[in-house]
């Protein structure tokens, strides 16, 4: 049994990491009142940038490449998210719609560029990825050491750390207070001299940056190349994780880990004796069914930030 956990948990964490990053991005954006269905597309851009950067600069930067690739993905994705910001904040676009547009555009554009640059449907395989590590001391702890702190990827652990950082930022700092105010009652924030548009721009671009990271680590660690199938639905799962986590950073992380766990259970499960004869399909739908049950059962209804989805127009009641 323990042995099984040693298999399931690490792969759960590794599945969850990209979702955590992206979901945290979603938290920023939606806490500021801007719906972001575009997370999927932003992940695509992240994955694309990460891989292309990695392939292009591997020789120059060697072992540093994947980290710089993440950085690049962060920057490019946050610039890309500007489109959503401009539409949703300045042009008062329907935020769902422009999010959908982002998704279409991201995939179309990145594949278009891949065909242009590489003359084929997918990139080559990246050569420099992240290394699996055992966290020095911690992994030596009996029982939990091998389960939680072995065979992991650095970015996976960073994701979890980041969740706490985001929690601190949103609930303990002036920036966080203002962010939440803007998402709950923008006019109140405005009368207190807070620049609503600016806050929302920052929030959306943060969501772009984080989704970018999510996409790039997914591509570098898992698929190692970029194609139409690299990001297929993870962004939506991250969105679900965010809502599931009630727009709370730690909640979102929990939800993402839960998805990850269900995912890896559905895969590793086939190797577990007492699950062996369960038809595969049940394991395949497990993560999704569990999510629905969880939401229905004990999580109950989540309530979104009050101003979510409504553009703020000065002087309008």
């Amino acid at each position: 049994m323990l042995h099984i956990l040693e298999i399931i948990i690490p792969s759960a964490i590794f599945f969850a990491a990209p979702l955590i990053f992206t979901a945290l991005g979603g938290v920023f954006s939606e806490r500021s009142g801007v719906v972001n269905i575009g997370l999927e597309g932003l992940m695509v851009i992240g994955a694309f940038t990460g891989v292309v950067f990695n392939l292009t600069f591997a020789d120059q930067f060697g072992q540093l490449t994947p980290w710089l690739a993440i950085l690049a993905a962060m920057i490019v994705a946050s610039i890309f998210s500007l489109m959503h910001a401009v539409a949703a904040i300045s042009l008062r676009a329907d935020q769902v719609v422009s999010g959908v547009a982002i998704n279409f555009l991201a995939l179309g554009l990145s594949l278009f560029l891949v065909k242009m640059w590489y003359g084929k449907g997918q990139t080559d395989q990246v050569q420099v990825g992240f290394d699996k590590i055992d966290i020095p001391i911690l992994s030596k702890i009996p029982v939990i050491g091998p389960i939680f702190f072995s065979n992991g990827y650095v970015p996976s652990y960073l994701a979890i750390v980041l969740a706490f950082v985001v929690w601190y930022v949103i609930y303990k700092t002036p920036f966080g207070l203002r962010l939440r105010a803007v998402g709950e009652h923008p006019m109140a924030a405005d009368t207190m001299g807070i620049n609503v548009a600016k806050m929302r721009y920052i929030a959306v671009m943060l969501s772009g940056a984080l989704a970018g990271i999510g996409g790039s680590i997914y591509a570098t660690i898992i698929s190692r190349d970029f194609s139409h199938a690299t990001i297929s639905g993870q962004g939506f799962m991250a969105l679900a994780a965010m809502i599931f986590g009630k727009w709370h950073p730690l909640g979102a992380m929990g939800a993402a880990l839960f998805f990850g766990f269900a995912q890896s259970l559905s895969i590793v499960g086939q190797a577990i004796p007492f699950l062996k004869n369960v038809p595969t399909v049940y394991l395949l739908i497990l993560p999704y069914a569990l999510t629905i049950l969880a939401l229905t059962g004990f999580i109950g209804r989540a309530d979104a930030p009050k101003a979510l989805g409504t553009p703020y127009v000065k002087g309008k009641r």
């Binding site: 303990k172 700092t173 002036p174 207070l177 203002r178 939440r180 105010a181 709950e184 009652h185 006019m187 109140a188 924030a189 405005d190 009368t191 207190m192 001299g193 807070i194 009050k306 000065k314 002087g315 009641r317």
Partner: protein, 509 residues
Amino acid sequence: MEYVIEMLNIRKVFGNFVANDNITLQLKKGEIHALLGENGAGKSTLMNVLFGLYQPDGGEIRVKGKKVNIANPNVANDLGIGMVHQHFMLVDTFTVTENIILGSEPTKGRQIDIEKAEQEVRELSERYGLAVDPKAKIADISVGMQQRVEILKTLYRGADILIFDEPTAVLTPQEIQELIQIMKALVREGKSIILITHKLKEIMEVCDRVTVIRRGKGIGTLNVSETNPNALASLMVGREVHFKTEKQPSKVGKPVLEIENLVVKDSRGITAVDHLNLTVHAGEIVGIAGVDGNGQTELIEAITGLIKSESGSIRLNGKEIRNLTPRQITETGVGHIPQDRHKHGLVLDFPIGENMVLQTYYKEPYSKRGILNFKAIYDKARQLIQEFDVRTPDEYTKARALSGGNQQKAIIGREVDRDPDLLIAAQPTRGLDVGAIEFIHKRLIEQRDKGKAVLLVSFELDEIMNVSDRIAVIYEGKIVAIVDPKETTEQELGLLMAGSKRKEAGVSS
């Protein structure tokens, strides 16, 4: 000159609509200055200009003699101008303190220093006798308290010029008295106040001077000591207005609404209506007086079926209607002018026309076998619009585009036209100007004279006093007294509403 604020020939245009047209307002240090005008006269706009929310299209603003350009609320704050808005600007998921410090948070390191903030808030609140709990969540405190938080927000930013936009519209008599004390305290501390209100009594009571505007134009500034309510009213509306609505003595008939031992819990599961008894007869208007939050809302929502009640009985013309669905109840003959016209009263994105058949769309002639008959619907709409003088471009205009006042008239038209045996009116004149109020009161009395039963809930005592035939005072979910408006005074009512003196519980006369 010792003016702290001078707004000279201010002009503000929205699209091609002139909201403020060369309005001049000068505020002396240490005075309470009233700004009076009808709905849509341009009061809020003018103040929003002063507060930096809008930029003027003409005129100039001087603060303490020197010309300023108030580009945004920050500038206003720096100039010591603070505003308590008509529609509260509070984040109700935040605590009192969080709302107050928002935008100028004290920090230690990168982190908000919440202890320090709460301390400061507590001190301020004590200094002006506001008695607010810094840790409380906005959602959990009364409207009166919320308004004090708004005041604290301005004080926390060191404002010495305070703007109050219709602060009393949402307050109970007691709260109004307390607010007046607070304002006096503020003035004593050397602050100057601009007060927007539709209530002439208040102006007479606290203000030193008053500036009247009509349809965006400044009419003039008077010393309160040298004028009287009627003069002010006609200045503001531009014609004679009657405060006491004329009405014959009521011809009371058989009981229409009979409530016995009704128990209702509120959304938080706390008992809001507690074994309440009340009877309303045909041909009378029963006014429910009470401090906000004593169960009025729950009582009405229980009668109309919007929420379920725990126990007791509600009979309409002898028929038990407790916990029936809203539709069943409407069909048994209940009309309801809801307290929140935007939330319950209207589908703001529907045309006025379709809003007029909100409860009757499924009946002939508005539909046959599930198919809508738009001709019938819009004919009815046209009829009501002109009958109740709803000011709207046409019946296809979205309800959203109408002013609060006109939205309210539309709702009343709809409810009255269904000709219900019982008409429930909750805060029917809130935020409306004297003209509109007069009109609505006439309509309520008209119903009563047609032999209908009317149940009126309002926080405006003078409304209760001059419209009702009987006044039922509600306190902590019980009817604690039934009084005759002709034999009572606002003071007595105020005391009853505060729960001090108890008459025998509300058995109907």
